[in-house]
């Protein structure tokens, strides 16, 4: 399934998510043609159960879809819809075919009268037909809610550093499209984990494209009578970039492969820390090698680097995930350290003490 997913989605993105198209969508344009093609292909349902109309693909197979979205810096909430539909399916709710996103940072209360509160930083929140969030996340019995765009009562529109919408949406006694108790075994921050998982794959994909672009440029650009890639100073930098891109890729792949039915918090944390560092290093080296041309809007380098700068911090920075791992490691102590790493389970967020 993985190979078929990858070749199909890459062809679709190559045709539609061209650099011009990506740039044109910045600032909050909805990618009408791209979403329509994705909707036709059914990719948004890839992770939902077969019984509910999905393809029931494992996260291991879904990895290549999310990575391709990063490789083409696709201006569309595809990963978001896949995650949201996976979670709906886990809760026994039928997946959505329209445009769909989620909030990983919601303070929503579900009452008999409806849902009230705020869903923050919703990718493409201003455009999507519906969104998924966990309501009453701090309570012993959180609920999964599916909310319609029609019931939004207020919004604070925001764009990330790459001009992608990350909107705060508020609700006041909104009627849910569907709701269910958060399935047992899933933590209340499941959407935060899932969001981080998606961004890891997108970072790995974007770094792959950026590395190819940068080494290609170094082979073509001539100074002092030679391609700049013939100079050891440039070669050594690109080697460091390649190592970082490789690290981000395998860390993300591991997090998807280990995701199982409940997402693997430790693997996701390790992957996000690895991917964030790789994003920073790779973006810096690619600009250094490209020189001034890479600093123009006309040249497409920034489509990748600005997204890397956005994605490395979304759904938890390297610092946040590092602290979560570090707290658990220190609790296990030096003697338990290696067993913890080779067993790799991260305690639920709620059981961890607050870090000052």
């Amino acid at each position: 399934m993985r190979e078929l997913f990858e070749s199909t989605i890459e062809r679709l993105f190559a045709d539609l998510a061209t650099p011009e198209y990506v740039l044109g969508c910045e600032g909050g344009e909805w990618p009408t043609a791209l979403w329509a093609a994705l909707d036709d292909s059914g990719f948004a349902l890839a992770g939902a159960p077969e019984a509910l109309g999905g393809a029931q693909a494992s996260w291991n197979d879904l990895y290549v879809i999310a990575r391709a979205a990063g490789r083409f810096v696709a201006p569309v909430p595809l990963g978001e819809a896949i995650l949201a539909n996976w979670l709906l399916g886990r809760a026994g709710i039928e997946p959505r075919t329209g445009s769909l996103s989620f909030s990983a940072d919601a303070s929503l209360q579900l009452r008999k009268s409806g849902v009230s509160g705020t869903a923050r930083a919703v990718p493409w929140g201003r455009h999507v037909d519906a969104l998924v969030a966990v309501a009453d996340a701090d309570s012993p019995s959180p609920s999964l809610v599916l909310l319609s765009r029609a019931s939004i009562t207020g919004h604070a529109l925001q764009l990330n550093v790459a001009g992608e919408p990350r909107d705060d949406l508020s609700f006041d006694n909104a009627q849910v499209l569907a709701c269910a108790p958060l399935p047992a075994g899933l933590p209340a921050d499941v959407l935060h984990l899932g969001g981080a998982l998606l961004r890891c794959a997108q970072i790995a994909g974007a770094l792959h494209a950026l590395l190819a672009m940068t080494s290609g440029y170094a082979s073509e650009r001539t100074q002092f009578g030679r391609p700049i890639g013939a100079f050891q100073a440039i070669q050594q930098q690109l080697a460091v970039f390649a190592e970082q891109a490789a690290a981000a890729n395998i860390a993300a792949e591991a997090a998807f492969a280990e995701a199982g039915e409940a997402l693997a918090a430790f693997s996701i944390a390790a992957a996000k820390v690895t991917a964030a560092e790789a994003a920073s290093t790779g973006a810096a080296i690619s600009h250094s090698v490209h020189g001034a041309i890479g600093f123009t809007q006309e040249y497409s380098l920034h489509l990748f680097t600005r997204r890397l700068w956005a994605w490395r911090g979304e759904f938890g920075s390297a610092s946040l995930w590092s602290q979560r791992i570090g707290q658990q490691v220190c609790e296990a102590g030096g003697d338990g350290y290696w067993a913890l790493l080779t067993g790799q389970t991260l305690a639920p967020h709620s059981t961890l003490g607050k870090t000052a």
């Binding site: 070669q235 080697a239 690290a247 395998i250 820390v273 690895t274 590092s322 570090g326 102590g333 067993a339």
Partner: protein
């Protein structure tokens, strides 16, 4: 390239099943082995411990059963060696024979060579060193001058090796020497590998003290040493290709990122169960790196097991891994006010003193940082 050369590979369940037995063995046999000695990692020498491992069947796990190995496969071997390294067990005696010389002899040796050398390796009794660098040939390995010349009955060996780890503890060296003239445009031709019995007349081994006063590496002199005809391993003139084939094994294992493990553990204990934000962040950051390095290393192991030649990926593992090992003494001093102590002080202070001094060697031994990055750049088509 970067994404296609690594694919996540889990350790198979049957190999994973060994892990608890190895841990139990380490708990029983290294109970009183202190962190300050564990800090030596794969430089810690203990022949009795190596023989014990041999009895357990944990040396020569990559070698065929008919020569005393267990043919347990690369992942079972990986579980055993990573457990030993993570615990700081003294594995130096048999390390190079197990990792490199045994597999080399198995791959290129004659039947007689395999029968002679492999069984004692698997028993943890026969130790090897690698004779590569010379006084004027470090990173530029193809410029070596030591040479073997054919005689009526074998070879006569002359020249000098240097920085040879464990030569003073080893019975044998696998030496790369010149057997033909160097060609201006074929620098890698005319090199051959020999199994040199270091007890032979004409061979002198002299330890070189390192900056911390330890004796790990040596200079080795060959003065008309007479070698039998069957000292040649593999094909005359193909030494460079044979050496290159070993490099992925040499550069991708967990010893390339676990050298500072003893310090990471004493550091975690020094921080206690309630670290502050900076401490938690740094320990978590290092742990994330360690998890990723291990996945990268396992990916190379899977490729080697499948008969592939992941030299590019192995270079990535070693360069990233060495950076990680070298960073740990720096982070330790960032997080805890504990002055390093050669003598006295806490175990943590002594481990820190040792590893702060050893760290520069991590990115020198087995291929320097710059050479590795050059290999990576070549793989990307830049050279």
């Amino acid at each position: 390239m970067a994404t296609t050369q690594f694919r996540y590979s889990r350790i198979p369940a049957e190999a994973e099943a060994l892990r608890e037995e190895v841990r139990q063995f380490i708990r029983e046999n290294l109970r009183d082995y202190p962190p300050s000695l564990r800090a030596q990692s794969w430089m810690g020498f203990d022949a009795a411990f190596s023989r014990q491992l041999g009895q357990k069947g944990w040396v020569g796990m990559a070698l065929p059963e008919q020569y005393g190995g267990t043919a347990a496969g690369p992942f079972a071997r990986y579980v055993v060696i990573e457990e030993l390294l993570a615990a700081g067990a003294p594995v130096s005696a048999h390390w190079i024979a197990d990792r490199q010389s045994g597999p080399l002899i198995n791959r290129f040796g004659t039947q007689a060579q395999k029968q002679r050398y492999l069984p004692p390796i698997c028993r943890g009794e026969s130790y090897f060193c690698i004779g590569m660098s010379e006084p004027n040939s470090g990173s530029d390995l193809a410029s070596i001058k030591s040479h073997a010349t054919r005689t009526g009955s074998g070879w006569v060996l002359n020249g000098q090796k240097v920085w040879t780890t464990n030569a003073h503890h080893s019975q044998y060296m696998i030496a790369l020497v010149r057997t033909g003239e160097k060609q201006a445009n074929a620098r890698h031709e005319g090199l051959s590998q020999f199994i040199v019995d270091l007890s032979l007349p004409g061979i002198t081994v002299r330890p070189i003290r390192d900056l911390a006063g330890g004796e790990h590496f040596n200079e080795v002199f060959f003065d008309n040493a007479q070698l039998d005809a069957d000292a040649l391993i593999g094909t005359e003139g193909k030494g460079w290709d044979q050496v290159t084939a070993e490099l992925a094994f040499e550069r991708s294992g967990p010893e390339r990122f676990l050298s500072s493990m003893a310090l990471l553990k004493t550091l975690i204990d020094a921080l206690g169960k309630t670290p502050d934000a900076l401490q938690a962040r740094e320990i978590g950051r290092l742990s994330a790196k360690l998890v990723t390095l291990r996945n990268m290393s396992l990916s190379v192991t899977a490729q080697l097991a499948a008969g592939e030649h992941p030299a590019w990926a192995a270079s990535c593992v070693k360069d990233l891994g060495n950076g990680f090992e070298q960073e740990i003494p720096e982070v330790a001093q960032l997080l805890v006010e504990a002055e390093p102590r050669q003598e006295g002080g806490s175990e943590h202070a002594r481990v820190l003193a040792y590893l702060a001094q050893m760290a520069p060697s991590f990115s020198l031994r087995g291929g320097t940082r710059e050479i590795l990055r050059g290999i990576i750049a070549r793989g990307m088509g830049l050279r």
